[in-house]
Amino acid sequence: MSNILNVSPSPHQQSPETTRKLMFGVVIALAPALAASIWYFGLGAIIVTLVSVISCVAVEYLIQKFILKTKPSISDGSAVVTGLLLAFNVPSNLPVHIIIIGAIVSIGVAKMTFGGLGSNPFNPALVGRVFLLISFPVQMTSWPIPSGFNTGYTDAVTGATPLAIMSEGIKNGETVSALMEKVPSHMQLFYGYMGGSMGEVAAIALILGGLYLIWRKIISWHIPVTILLTVAAFTGILWAIDPTKYADPLFHLLTGGIMLGAIFMATDYVTSPMTAKGMVIYGIGIGVITVLIRTWGAYPEGVSFAILIMNAFVPLLNMYIKPKRFGKEVKHG
């Protein structure tokens, strides 16, 4: 009996799931969309992704090492995920220095100032993205047209996104049916053949990743499904009222950042509600605000803003939306 026994309160076993494994799971789920980006946008997608991931990780490491003087926690993988998501949310021809600025804002401002992983109220990648959109409006809205794997980096041919074509056209009094001729078909949209942020285009790849996340139980269906249903319902009502002025729901679901936002951005643990009921309210809010911005706002796309606005309501939702307690209502079977 020479063993020295450890003593600690129960439970004496822990689940094999760890923060790092969850983050790595998200990276795996993002892989199909990354592959699609490289397929459509070529070299640019690779450069933007590498620069974004490396600078996000580096910024976190440097801040922890030299400013906070704490043990760097980059191995938890959260900075890698932020880096990937930031890359997914910008055009594939974005110059390197702008990406680095985005990383500094994402990690430095939106994450570390609040205390690092778990303490940030707003989605870091989206804060970085919106900062760049406002600061570099030209570079952030010159979307490369998918032209295959051999596409260069900053010299890629650019064009407008389907949403921008639709938004501009409707403002100029064109009918939706006429505009539909100018945008890719629904099938092309589903496969991702359109201009846009590098990771948001391929709906099929994003849905694949989303199914993986749900299967691995990394996320629940509540947030993505409610967002998509809300967008479909809201745009469906508008479309039913006047199909010449409003695009059909499927067009809305397949364009812009809605898939990326619903599946990967809005489901960020730290900045989304913790109860199923809260998630549904949050999802409805994101869906409604997105459609409001797309239909009547100054920007053709509003997913990023919608998620950030609803991020602000998360503490409130967590405080007031409680799970149903066991034994609250006495029932006789």
Binding site: S10, P11, Q13, L22, M274, G327
Partner: protein
Amino acid sequence: MLKTFPKGGIHPPENKLTADRPIVILPVPSQVTLPVSQHIGAPAVPVVEKGTAVKTGQVIAQAKGFVSTNIHSPVSGKVNKIDTVVDTTGYKQTAVVIDVEGDEWVETIDRSSALVREITLSPEQIIERCRQCGLVGMGGATFPTHIKLTVPAGKKCDMLIINGVECEPYLTSDHRLMLEKGAEVLTGISIIMKALGVDRAVIGIEANKPDAISHLTELAKAHMGITVQPLKVKYPQGGEKQLIKACTGREVPSGGLPVDVGVVVQNVGTAFAVYEAVQKNKPLIERIVTVTGKSVKNPGNFLVRIGTPVTALIEAAGGMPDDTGKIVNGGPMMGKALAMTDVPVTKGTSGIIMFPAGVSKRAEVLPCIRCGKCSSACAMGLEPWLISVLGQKGMFEKAEQEKITDCMECGACSYTCPAKRPLLDYIRLGKATVIRMARERVTK
């Protein structure tokens, strides 16, 4: 679809290594140590002194008050000393130490193995017999059985639920008992039904014990009103409130007792003990203990006399593996870690698990990422992340509003946390303080 409780729950690896190991009777040790508090309630008062000769089954410490119970000598011999010892919970308490001489039983105990099915005692006599025989809940909570069988005035009980769930990983003592002593368990259930005056009993068994389900279903055909309910494997289904919900759909109110919804729950081990007490006049002097662990040479289920040192059990299982880093008394989810092995088996010892050093230490704690997995896992519909922080920060009034006292400390939250946060540690801290505060309010 198998029934289960609807809210929360987890499914840790089952690791029922000893499910196929028949119960082995362990030889009587040379010395037993009997703490006077092996049950919930007031410690029993010793009625023997140093040098007193005792027989197997003789009362050595008497119940003090209603919420207490007798303790019997599980061996024959001479009282060596009455001393302070450390028990399995790590606390010091008074214990009677007996040196074993032979194995001479009290004459009134029927030691034959013949099954006695006919129940001759009246309900009152049954309850009195349980009290005399020192019966406690064998699932680990060790609440005196005679109290549970006494339905409080004004309450009505219309059914009995028997807990054969054994949802804790590793443990198999109830499983083996159902397989090997099924007829006795069923008679025990009939006895409890008579004591409670109910005509319905449901045995809840998880689907990972198909042999026990089919065996008891077959045997139950000969017993009026007893049915077996197979349940989906989910922890903590052995929690009383969860088991009642799973079997009947009834929901015990917050702060209430099962009898508030007309149910009494007893463990299969308790049903067996009731059978032995009522039909054989045999007090609670032995129990089945699962001794197991992944590196244990000869894990098994052992029938041992209460008071046997844990070291004897470990020896019987092939000795302590060299890589042992932690020994747990009970299941891995709710059991207590032993600081030393020189402690006695008590009425509540359901298992001894030896964990290798590698898994015996907790993983590094990382920041909460608000994934909400703890809330999803909580079978009581609580928010462990929140009440844990409230407990840690000393915000006890708020913790009380958030129903911290509903927590049954099953550990599902701490288990499931990907950041490995010690959620339950701080919840316990908060819960204990809130209960104390509530008690002070009442006395003021």
